[in-house]
Symmetry: C2
Subunit: 208 residues, 2 copies
Amino acid sequence: MTTTGSEEIMRATYTALCEFGYADLTMQDIADNTDKSKATLHYHYDSKHALLLEFLDHLYEKFTERVNQPTGNGPTEELVAFIDLVMTPPEPDEHSHEEFGTAMLELKAQAPYDTGIRDRMQQFDDFMISAIRESLIAGMDAGEIRDIDPDTVARFLVTSITGARTNEVAIGQNLAATHQTLLQYIETHLLTSEKDGMLNIAEVEELR
Amino acid sequence: MTTTGSEEIMRATYTALCEFGYADLTMQDIADNTDKSKATLHYHYDSKHALLLEFLDHLYEKFTERVNQPTGNGPTEELVAFIDLVMTPPEPDEHSHEEFGTAMLELKAQAPYDTGIRDRMQQFDDFMISAIRESLIAGMDAGEIRDIDPDTVARFLVTSITGARTNEVAIGQNLAATHQTLLQYIETHLLTSEKDGMLNIAEVEELR
């Protein structure tokens, strides 16, 4: 399939997941959001499950591309930019942000029964931990970040990000509020005095 | 219904949730784990949904009872005991811990569509934040905990606990490892020098 054709199907999968959730999703629902027939979809993907795994790979690729763009800034700025990115994910359609989060949580609840899904969730988690860990180590080398254990702190931050997303879906907890809490943690507990006040927390406050 | 009868149904609901998950659960599955008929269950609970809400209320009651037992210790010890409790929840059957976590995550993914479930998830979250917040304030008054914003820190800790539970289900992340990370955070970032070294982190390490 051409990249454009594949891109169209990935976008259609996103839209259909937002509309129907994971459990009720059918190949027909996805086809309805493309100019292709269900038969064409089946020609390229053996099953709904195969298409979904491809979709998760696609999300991962897009996500890592965005993160890996060089910012030309220092390690602390990179860490903050990463937190900003994961706490305010850009969505093709802003209104579907909540619906997509719900579908992703449904997928996570499926992960124990499904190694394909589980491996991909693990991949996201590993990538986030590794990206944060690298920024922390670079920040310590540059004297911007205190002498902390980068593994522990990276894992802690990623666990909080996961919790923020779960709570956003389950109890409607404002993502912007947790975003602010994460920045406060970085400012108060991680930055050396040299970087004091670099994070303008008040700006984030306005998002609530 | 007698308390014993109700207790039996709650235990049967727990067992059936572990076995079948939320989506596939039927009243018959629950009845099969009691000496009652499905008709008797329907006499007491209008629907599977009503029984499940009752079950969540029952969990909440048990949880708050355990937390509210006076320990006779200081605020820092209480905070640590609370973290220990939520990170190593006692289960009627140890082998079903993972299955139960999966069912709870499924329920969380249902919360956006179901205000009854959502309200109960919110209640758990509010209770945890409030319990941690109280320990933090008492700890600051006693000079054991540094001058931090108790609301922010309590919310951050609870968000991490939620993330740890999601990750335990979705990617099999070891709960004991996150438990250790939380204790390290408390030791390094929250305790005053007066309380230095009070947490024996090595002991937790052995749980991994």
